[in-house]
Assembly symmetry: C2
Homo-oligomer: 203 residues x 2
């Protein structure tokens, strides 16, 4: 959250027409989501944080659902980026890539639990909206390709197994329910995750 970014340099004096409210609201919403969580998310607080009236978001996002839809689309981009980042640090071996993607999956859930819940455990975004549906599909295809590289064919059941294992670990970690794993030292925790994730594809 760098406020000195010259690329976003916009005059700071208050003016009637904000100029970049769309992006400012998205950033405010993301911060608000991270701080208060999804269940306490408030459109009016987002507007206040962006320094704008409570009805201003409506013009850009329609209603709170629209804002959350846009936020979820952005969330999927970050989600895929988290997997990709972890894969980049792993070997090219297909199995290692699957495990790395799983670690990225878990890292995203742990570091951004509210955003994770927004994209996977909420009914409030409109998942049929073009931008969001595309993000969701892109995430699935990302996983699908990984599994395909490992098994040869993209068997939906294999994909489901890898997906479910990564998702289960991620969701339980985001909710803070896996005490046995949470209490491990980071290195041991990662080792445990790797071992578990490696079980999903037999052979």
């Amino acid at each position: 959250m760098d406020t000195e970014d010259p690329l976003c340099a916009v005059p700071e004096k208050p003016r009637y027409h904000h100029g970049a409210l769309h992006d400012a609201l998205l950033a405010a919403a993301e911060a608000e989501l991270a701080e208060t969580g999804l269940e306490a998310f408030s459109l009016r607080r987002v507007a206040r944080r962006a320094g704008v009236s409570h009805a201003a978001p409506a013009h850009h996002f329609g209603d709170v659902g629209g804002l959350l839809t846009a936020l979820a689309a952005e969330g999927f981009r970050q989600f895929i980026a988290a997997m990709t980042a972890h894969q980049a640090r792993a070997s090219r071996d297909p199995q290692a890539q699957i495990v790395a993607a799983g670690l990225g999956y878990i890292a995203f859930a742990t570091e951004r639990p509210a955003l994770f819940r927004l994209i996977f455990s909420s009914d409030r975004p409109d998942f049929a909206a073009p931008g969001l549906a595309a993000g969701s599909a892109q995430a699935y295809e990302h996983l699908s390709r990984l599994v395909g590289a490992r098994t040869g064919g993209e068997d939906p059941v294999d994909i489901a197994a890898v997906w479910a294992m990564a998702h289960g670990l991620a969701d339980l970690m985001a909710a803070g329910r896996m005490y046995a794993i949470q209490n491990l030292a980071p290195a041991d925790r990662d080792r445990a995750f790797c071992g578990i994730l490696a079980r999903t594809i037999p052979g």
Copy 2:
């Protein structure tokens, strides 16, 4: 939801002191949760459904969090019951019992998605409250015993693997995100789940 249950026979004429408001509110809350979902849950609608003023629940549950805490505790009981029911129909073989528990896990999530989210993906219940913490711990121990019967020792990593796989499948099914599996015929779907769940414990 049998309204003729003689065991619960309570005079039905409206009176100032309800007599069994605690249980009536819990039942109303569960119905409300199932119909409107967790994110649209409203304490006042629960009160209306129970035929009582909007402030009546406060005396029994404190606030909305208290009601959701009680509901979550009840949810864990039903959750464990779902696993137990599926296990009863399976063979005594430890591996078969693990798979059956997983199928029960998934069945609970698909049949009661809102309750499932309440106990696994919500911050609103107080999970430190005695009744709820006990239910949560009981569920973990249930899984723990199953895995122990299969492997000999209760390795937390083995438990985590089984738990995460079942949870991942359940959560993604509850959210309606596993299109590839959802579109399968019920028999094929169960076969797929069994195959996937069986992968979690190696050997």
